[in-house]
Subunit: 734 residues, 2 copies
């Protein structure tokens, strides 16, 4: 899954020319049904491909009724696309023939390249070099290939080439795993969702997943892009295509596999221990407006939800849901699920309640959830039902609506669908139907509702999840429209960057004194403090006379990142003799528990206690770069489990949204009679640390401000302890 070279970006990819060939040659075509070269040929015939097909294999005069050619050179007419399904060692020779024939695109199915080791990697590099010199774009090697469903092109083997045949549509799928990725397509196909392109990328020697997403977004026939990906050499490139998708209004649905860490991360800081890969990718997706998939059923559900978004030009990011139905149980289950999906419960205006009440029998409920009572449509008729829906959708406090068909009979489901088709023009806000009737028994209803792009889902829980995803995406679009460049890397690395010379990639954990100096240089407040050098410890009391007690006393040694673990910290130390005793005590503890550590001295600080403890930190996530973390802080920061993160750099609005996500946000805003704390100061620290991290991208490995004491509004935030760790020169990740 590693990509050796990147050329995308140099040359824009036009999918219509590459993936809609007028002629296809299959090198390695075969009469053995188990061989890829056979499967491709068979699929092209079965799908009814209209262009010319040239099987290539010296062993056969013809294959499946097509004349077979001994070599690519022997094909008399131009070849647009070559599918290569011969052993790896033979691939360079085929690619040279392809170059001579001015082929524009190649799919290399053969395995035996980079995935097998160094020799395979060299062979892969050779193939790419030939292709590149000839201007041939390449999918693979070691891939299932691609299909262009509307044009009946199948340059693929395995599941992509077999039944069930996908219907043509507007969803394009790019996957780094042929097997699992295609499962997503099958789950959609079962719900009659049609596809445009399906591409399995294999080793990505030339065209990678992100390049292809980028190109698919430019494809007029693609409305939604779905992706399964594992390896991602440059996650920032994914963010960029995410933003592009958002700007174009084409939802990008991504399943990221491999987010579970194998064992704990080896981190020097609290920050590094707190933030996991899944957290980072969730943040990245959120910042880029990428829609996350994490269950198979999400694929069809969210495609259905997003296919209807164009119907709601004024669709906002509102999360106030209403529900109408005759099954009390379904309404209760929807409410439980809505609450978990972050939806709010719509409260109707009095006028709405009156309108609905006039349409219901006395034992119905005209408030949300609206209980029509059992058999309502049969008794009151379809017009009354439609009027209830109109009344609810007219309420300005309703953003989205769930209609519970529940276990209505097939006939009832069809009747319900008919009313909705008749009133489709009035459905100006997202409307979902929950129906548990077998699709096979209510196929007519499903087809009618699909035609008006109204999503029918088989569980209220899935309705709530899809509603939540739609609102989150709409919110990302709104945010991107307000601040189109927010979250993108400023060219200059931000104004608050400390001089780069301060930081060197030498794999060190900087001591607290140096770490705090760095923070002060970017505008982060630290307590008044004095570093007493190791050779002046006897003179400590005189040196610290300008600092008011009580004191925090800590050893300073770049060999000891976790001072408190070895007894190297004393807090709330009074002035005078106790201070000298504390200094002597931490030095003794250091000598005893870390005898080989070099001791730079002892740091004596004003004791800061009057604030709420947060943690602000940075980790350098592979393939992502600097990630900024905010959480509840203190000695037990990990156990708090209250943190959030963003891909750096971030602006003030993004920093505020981080604070809003913390469980402790009510404390920061002032709770239980306590004053509001200085949220503005926290925002400033976050933005400055983010800019610093971005400016030192590749050098900074981890950064920890813990605790950051947040004081009442107007009184600032103070970094009481800090730790900066740099990459070793060879480990610099970018």
């Amino acid at each position: 899954m590693t990509r050796t070279d990147r050329t995308a970006g140099d040359t824009p990819i036009t999918l219509s020319s590459l993936l809609s060939p007028r002629s296809i040659a299959i090198v390695g075509a075969s009469d053995d049904p188990a061989r890829p070269g056979h499967e491709t040929l068979k699929a092209l015939i079965a799908m009814g491909y209209q262009g010319a097909v040239y099987p290539i294999n010296p062993k056969y005069p013809e294959l499946l009724g097509k004349p077979c050619f001994p070599s690519l050179d022997a094909v008399p007419d131009p070849v647009d696309l070559v599918v290569i399904a011969v052993p790896a060692a033979a691939v360079p020779g085929v690619m040279e023939q392809a170059a001579r024939r001015q082929v524009r695109m190649a799919v290399v199915m053969s395995g035996g390249f980079r995935e097998t080791g160094d020799a395979g990697a060299a062979l892969q590099d050779q193939v790419v070099a030939i292709a590149r010199a000839a201007g041939i774009r390449l999918i693979g090697p070691n891939c299932l290939g691609f299909a262009n469903i509307p044009d009946r092109v199948c340059a693929a083997f395995g599941s992509i080439s077999r039944v069930p045949r996908l219907e043509a549509g507007t969803v394009s799928l790019v996957t780094q795993s042929g097997g699992f990725g295609y499962s997503l397509a099958l789950a959609c196909a079962e719900e009659s969702i049609g596809f445009r392109y399906v591409i399995a990328t294999g080793n990505e020697a030339d065209l990678g997943c992100v390049d292809l997403i980028d190109a698919l977004l430019d494809d007029p026939g693609t409305e939604i892009v779905m992706t399964y990906l594992e390896g991602l050499p440059d996650a920032r490139a994914l963010m960029q295509v995410g933003r592009k998708a958002l700007a174009l209004g084409k939802p990008l649905l991504v399943w990221k596999g491999g987010v579970t860490e194998q064992g704990a991360r080896a981190a020097a800081t609290h920050t590094g221990s707190i933030v996991g890969r899944a957290d980072v990718y969730r943040a990245l997706f959120r910042q880029a407006g990428i829609v996350e998939l994490n269950e198979m059923s999400d694929a069809p559900d969210l495609v259905k939800a997003f296919q209807c978004h164009a119907r709601y030009p004024g669709m906002g990011s509102g999360r106030r849901a209403a529900v109408i139905g005759g099954s009390g149980g379904s309404a209760i289950v929807f409410c439980d699920a809505a609450s978990q999906a972050g939806l709010a419960f719509a409260e109707f205006q009095p006028a709405t309640v009156d309108r609905v009440a006039a349409l219901l029998p006395p034992i119905g409920s005209p408030t949300n959830p609206v209980d029509l009572t059992a058999g309502y449509i049969g008794i009151r008729g379809p017009k009354a039902y439609a009027d209830v829906i109109r009344a609810v959708l007219d309420d300005p406090g309703v953003d989205t609506l769930c209609l519970n068909f529940a276990s209505s009979s097939p006939a009832g489901t069809v009747a319900g669908a008919k009313f909705l088709v008749d009133m489709a023009g009035d459905l100006r806000k997202p409307v979902f139907v929950f129906s548990s009737m077998h699709k096979s028994l209510a196929l007519e209803a499903h087809t009618m509702l699909r035609d008006i792009r109204l999503p029918v889902l088989p569980s209220p829980v899935r309705v709530a999840k899809a509603m939540g995803a739609l609102a989150t995406w709409a919110a990302a679009r709104e945010a991107a429209a307000r601040a189109p460049t927010a979250g993108q890397a400023p060219a200059d690395g931000g104004a608050a960057a400390a001089p780069a010379s301060l930081l060197q990639a030498d794999g060190r954990a900087l001591d607290e004194v140096f770490s705090k100096a760095l923070l002060r240089s970017i505008g982060v407040r630290t307590p008044g403090e004095v570093m007493v050098p190791a050779d002046a410890l006897a003179d400590a009391l005189r040196l610290v006379q300008d600092i008011d007690g009580p004191y925090a006393v800590k050893i300073v040694s770049s060999d000891i990142p976790h001072k408190s673990d070895i007894g190297g910290v004393r807090l709330s130390v009074p002035a005078g003799a106790p201070l000298q005793a504390a200094i002597d005590g931490v030095v003794a503890a250091c000598r005893e528990h870390a005898p080989t550590a070099r001791l730079q001295g002892v740091l004596v600080s004003e004791m800061v206690t009057d604030g709420f403890e947060l943690l602000v930190g940075v980790v350098d996530e592979p393939a992502v770069g600097p990630v900024i973390v905010l959480g509840q802080g203190g000695v037990f920061a990990e156990a708090m489990g209250d943190s959030t993160c963003r891909v750096a750099p971030i602006d003030a609005a993004e920093a505020r949204s981080m604070i809003d996500e913390l469980r402790c946000a009510p404390i920061l805003r002032g709770t239980r009679g306590l004053p509001a704390l200085d949220i503005d100061a926290v925002v400033e620290v976050l933005v400055n640390v983010s800019a610093f991290a971005w400016a030192h991208h590749g050098v900074l490995a981890e950064l920890d401000i813990n605790p950051l004491f947040v004081r009442p509004a107007g009184c600032g935030a103070v970094a009481a302890d800090a730790l900066v760790v740099t990459h070793a020169p060879a480990q610099s990740s970018h």
Copy 2:
């Protein structure tokens, strides 16, 4: 949904006699297809019911080919079951006829009873009284009725009576919502799962959900009971049937609707704010070994998982999962999901790795996840595939196995299923198959695997969730077998109960002094402290001379539950003049901010700071009774979001399991060079508080020990603050 009287328990219910009638009368049978009386008659004929059917309606000589009778009295032969589908007002008369005819069972479909108000409730009581006097058991009123699938009985209307017809099987469903509950049956039916009884309970005037579960567990034809329930007047009765199900080895699958609180709970304590209804029910289910459903697909998935448990007589509660397949992506997705489902990743023994390696091509992976490489079965043959599976299942470190068929072709899926059928006898641990192939295209494979009870699920995420549920249930069975009475209410309320006379249901928040006295009486340590009465404040320094400073100084007033909110608390106060100043200060704050509060005095305590802050508390949950809560404590306990709960009473083992669930458990066990804390002392507090809460069930409304300072192992735990709230006499919930 309220149940007026309980008779179950008095008379054991034998379902075979009640739900397998030899003859059925339908009072209110009709020729109008929209009427319940028509639907029932039609369904009985369509299902092929073999007993006698008597439509009753004076308007018709015959209905659907059956002779129709003018009244129940006119039926010449014995009637076992009467279905009543006439207007509510006519139901008592019909019930009287039924009594005369010695009917044993009635299903009252008619609405218009308790659900409509007081008059309806009186009518319902009248119907129940007639039935009870005649020994008639009753389902309903206001219900869809029931079906007995193997015996082709349908005493139901609505979805239960319609297509699709359920197949006969061993799952029984009881639901308080006909509409939603039946959706669960439909979801199972789509997966070819068969049913025994399906019962919608309606108003539960006689037979309630829990009574019916109890009876179904005694039914030899029922292997699994599934329930959707909302209202539950006595959740402890559900716990009891849960334990019975566990003892019998019959899984009880419950979907509890209505767990989302509408708005925040009005609680006087931190404890009350922290614990939600969903948390309480999750704990209750866990304690009773009840399997929780919270998504529609859980119903078929978990039935499939549990239907196979009998195949694994030695199945343990192990959570170490292995995965075998040819799709790298599917394995990665399974690993991500397994981690979220609380499964561990099996590590193979060296001998297993060697055995598997000998069966794989060089580029395969013989460690977990096993990568067979694409096309493995075609190349190496089915025997090699079976040998890989045997090798993995033989490893003692493997508890459960997922086989990824992923998007294998229909033919490949069938081939894979055949190998599994051949080796079914060797599958001695739970094995699941993930296949994304349309069921319709691989029906043969699905049928073969269903016949050997091997679950095939359409997503690795769902496989992981089902594996987790199976292991959790097995663990509950093991725990119940070890300690069969654990978690059940001791008859005497436990040894540590404080004298009941101390507590009176007067709706008061007891002051800190009284609250702590209660705690001391049940063996909970509190700090050394002296209550300085309001009229002796000037003499405070002399009164507290036996207590060592620094001090915590707090006002005592039962009118002020949250002392710190009004400035009524001063901490770390030195001895002497500062102490007197602090006492005067809190009194002044009280006079200023709560001028009408009665001030009992000022409590001066030893300042406790040397421990980790936990919270231990009790809430009295409606229908459940006392629930014991443990969490991270302190002023901001709510923001910690780190808590767990159990239905009281609990024993020491259950208390330890609560500690294990906290995010801060590593801190209690000793982390970052800090000593292990006194977990035994926390266990003792939990058990004693639990016994106290149980003994004062109905009187105690809320209890809060916050913070409970936990000191290093052997040094105990100290309740630094406490608040006890009693129910008002009328609000006593039990």
